[in-house]
């Protein structure tokens, strides 16, 4: 469903992605792991057309994103929901307006209906009574979860999660992991998730892929990843500073 074909991207002469090949199949959850600054967020932004590659392709159901005209690109983007690493809540709007924003923009639903939908999704992420708070009045973890509620409120086909559980306590993390899992199992949503949190990765992943120095160096099921003999992957998942990975 999502195919990345030899994706390359640099910023001002510094190559961040050096030929990424990756496929996400319909209905699966693919988790990308990789060090800080390895280009995971950059990679994800290519998938939804926020960034465009220097070379290589991103294909969604066969269509090359870079070739789409603006209206088609917009239509394609609306099939996605994205959870940003830093939530990216609209800080001029309160929580329910954030969660209901896309519905208010694209549907004829009345305010009351949108409010109810927002409340429903906020309950799903464990925030039943923050409807009227402003983003600045929320903790980091709460913002993250409002961002998640906003992403799923439009019932997208594909979800992109950029570190959805970072900064959450273990119990709340588990709530979110179960939610992500159930979205995939019950609604068949296709997901691409970035995380540093190995507990979360093993919990939700159908397959995992590791990004290192601009390339995908390993893909496999969680069991295969756990049993890998690739020294980089082994070091990363064991969280050790001894090994071939250069820190930073």
């Amino acid at each position: 469903m999502i195919t990345l074909d030899h994706l390359q991207k640099g910023f001002g002469g510094r190559q961040v992605l050096k030929g990424v090949d990756l496929q996400v199949k319909r209905g699966e959850t693919l988790v990308i792991i990789g060090g800080s600054g390895s280009g995971k967020s950059v990679l994800m932004k290519h998938v939804i057309g926020l960034l465009f590659a220097d070379s290589g392709q991103v294909r969604i159901d066969g269509d090359d994103l870079a070739q789409l005209k603006e209206p088609e690109l917009t239509r394609t983007r609306r099939r996605f929901g994205m959870v940003f690493q830093n939530a990216a809540l609209f800080d001029s709007m309160n929580v329910w307006q954030n969660v209901g924003f896309a519905l208010m923009q694209h549907t004829k639903k009345r305010k009351k209906a949108v409010l109810e939908i927002a409340q429903h999704y906020l309950e799903m992420v464990g925030l039943p009574d923050v409807l009227y708070r402003m983003p600045s009045e929320l903790s980091g973890g709460m913002r993250k979860r409002v961002g998640l509620a906003r992403a799923i409120a439009t019932s997208p086909e594909i979800l992109l999660y950029d570190e959805p559980t970072t900064g959450l306590d273990p119990v709340t993390s588990d709530v979110i992991n179960r939610l992500i899992r159930s979205l995939q199992e019950q609604l068949g949503i296709t997901s691409l998730m970035i995380t540093h949190d190995m507990v979360s990765a093993y919990h939700v992943a159908d397959r995992m892929a590791m990004l290192y120095q601009g390339k995908i160096i390993e893909t496999g099921t969680p069991e295969q990843i756990r049993a890998t003999d690739n020294p980089y992957v082994r070091q990363f998942i064991s969280g050790s500073s001894d090994g071939p990975i250069e820190a930073g």
Binding site: R78, A88, Q105
Partner: protein
Amino acid sequence: MWGVIVATVDAPAQVSWALRLPYWVGSVVLGVLREVGRLSIYLYQSIRLGVVPPYRIRDIFRQMEVLGVNTMPVVLITALFTGMVLALQSHTGFSRFSAESLVGTVVALSVVRELGPVLTGLITAGRAGASIAAELGTMKVTEQIDALVTMGVSPVKYLMVPRIIAGVVMLPILTVFADVVGIAGGYLVGVEMLDANPTVYISRTFDFLEVADVVGGLIKAAVFGGLIALVSAAQGFNTRGGAEGVGRATTGAVVLSSMAVLISNYFLTMAMAS
């Protein structure tokens, strides 16, 4: 302002100044062209997206309110003192050839044709331009603009167009206030301080003032309003690199939109004169 433009081009290190000068000139030219090109694209998109529904009337009114509240007090004070100083200066000048009776005329014409719209434009560039760039720049660096895009909402349509329309509508309104207060300031000095005859002063004020003067000034103001919003929003959208980047975008917006006001003022005046 050169800083704003040149900052996008890296200077070659370790080159003699004789070589760096043409490089610098070239960079400035390229920078200006790039900026003009970028603005043309935004302008084109704004018009194309602005004419199709939804029209977001509420957003437009909100922006008009923000712009008015931000700018009105400063505009009024500036206009008042400008009208006053104009009366004082022209009185000094005209008394040398006993033409004091023309003070009212000069104040009215200068304020309505030139100072009203231009001062209003410059004040708006400073206040509203800065706040537009800071707001949109913050949205950019905190990925709120990206979030809009992922939800299929065009930032140009949603954020830029309402601000441009608000600018085009509000600047003439602010200018009308500036004109009235400026002329009143002139009257205050002319009649109360310099003892001109009130009836004569008033008739001299309006005898030579034509509708075209007023309309021309208001057209200028409308153009300034649109330009300021366009330039400042574009600066916001192109912000990079955290809080520091927002600071840069804000100063850039003030400098560039002030320049846009002054430069377009000349050409508009020239076009209207012919």
